[in-house]
Amino acid sequence: MTQLQYKGTGSATGRTGSRYWRSKSAYLGVIPFLIVSGLFLLYPTWNVASGAFQDNYGKFSTSVLKEVFNSPVARHAFGNSLEISIKTAIAGAIMGGLFAWAIVNGKRDGIFYRFSVALSSVLAQFGGVMLTFAFLATFGFNGLVANIALKVAPNTFLADSSWLYGMLGLSVLYTFFQIPLMVLVFLPTLENLKPQWREASDALGGKAWEYWLRIGIPILTPSFAGAALLLFVNSFSAYATAQTLINLSDFLTPLEIATALTSETGGSNPAEAKSLSFYMVVVVIIAMTFYALLRRRVSRWEQRR
């Protein structure tokens, strides 16, 4: 029997003595994790947070923050980021929600269900660069659809691929990205819509629309809104897709940050990068706070077991 076995099993009798320290020794167990997370997570977070309030020489100042705040370029990028995030969050939420509904109504163990869930998981995590190429292959210059359109309908936008490389194209691409995430996030909620509720409503004399109006929609709405918020954050933080598709360095905030950090022309501007990051994080934290509040509401209802 080694010392190890007594970790954390003693009860503290008094604040001194080996018993007390032995019980506290359980806390030692988290040290390895703290080291790793400290290095790779906490340090960078602190770096950004504190760096935003410094200038490029390390002195405390809010000058860079203010400069970024007032810069028209930064604002434009930020606006674009917000715009695309909101649009694609809503579009993705609606389409993803419908798709999730279709999945839930199928067989639970069937091929369609498993395939859809698997595909969604893959796309949600895996996709930025590759999805972009998929789109390029289809809609870009010399892409499949573009080529067909050239022959069939040369005056429509499908034939001229430039739309892909602007706000519209990016939005479509992002939405495509959002749908699998929505499916993954929303599916559990739909699955938790207990059939007994519909049956109870029916037995009590309720029609289908009455069920949806009074039961279905009120129950689903918080989860739906929460999912949409997640989509918003996802879109806002995205970098890979934009980078692969668009070459403008200041179209979206993440792109701006990357440029500020690694600029090959002239010196890089880490303080600017950190300030931009800071603003991004503020937005994300606001969104996540709402998300947490919504989630708490839902989990209250789910406290049955």
């Binding site: 509720w197 029916d202 037995a203 009590l204 004399g205 309720g206 029609k207 009455e210 209802w301 049955r304």
Partner: protein
Amino acid sequence: MSSSTYVQLVDLAKHFGKVRALDGLSLDIAQGELVALLGPSGCGKTTALRALAGLQELDRGQLIVDGKDVTFQNANKRGMGMVFQAYSLFPHMTARENVEYGLKLKAHKTAGDKRKARSAELLELVGLSTHANHYPHQLSGGQQQRVALARALAISPKVLLLDEPLSALDAKVRTQLREEIRRIQIELGTTTLFVTHDQEEALSIADRVGVMRNGQLEQIAAPSELYDRPKTSFVAEFVGLTNPISGKVSGGSIEILGSVVKTLPGSVTSGTGIALVRPESIDVVASKSGNAKVAAASFLGASCRLNITMNDGTRITAQLPSLDAAGIGAGASVAVSLLDMPVFVKAAG
């Protein structure tokens, strides 16, 4: 068939794939009666109930309520109140709002104050007035089921349907709640169909109990009749405890434990049969020269259960009032005999 038959299930049949959930089930329920459907899982009792509610389609058969054929009527037009086993309360509404739900629907539209009065009345009836504004997740299982009951009763249903409402609850709550359900049912005079797999539950509150197996009704009768005069071996063994004792059958009687007793209709008529003897039909008396020894004794409060080994090796369980069993403990030598009650005898082997 009573003259005030209110609900009729006529020759119901339903299969799921290869399984015949209902196989020619016919049943009548009189007005104001509480009929329990009892049986092991998979016997079709829940299917029958859901069919009556309109939540399950049938392959064949008719459902008649208050003279009208409702077989093809939508669930939301049948005017039945249903209480599910669990999870049926709307989680985003308070108890009161849940109870009022039915009265907000177009089918039973009721004006504001009348609605409030009705929900208050029902919550009082089930003893939850103080919890009216609580959400389901704040209520215990038993309380949730009471709200479900109040909700079903709010619409003054023609028939009350209960689908194993107590199965998900603790033992003590179960006993309490089943008596309350019965009390309320009698007070309101609602025709009720109650499905359960717990035979004690069914026997204790029903006017009549129908024992089901494999989609068919084995026997339907008042609880005491079901217990004393089972018509099939399944019923005899499913309801209450039995001692299987083999003996020779002839001329409507069987010889076991040194006595000759009559056999019930439906029993085997000749050869060797296995009598299903109730524990309380066995008489046990302390005796130095008896024909058995007590292997173990369990004190159950009002009665005593004795595990007895006969001299010829047969093992039986007898049950006596504790006063009569005083002094008889493990190892005691006893004389065992049979009370003169007819028994059901099933085929040997």
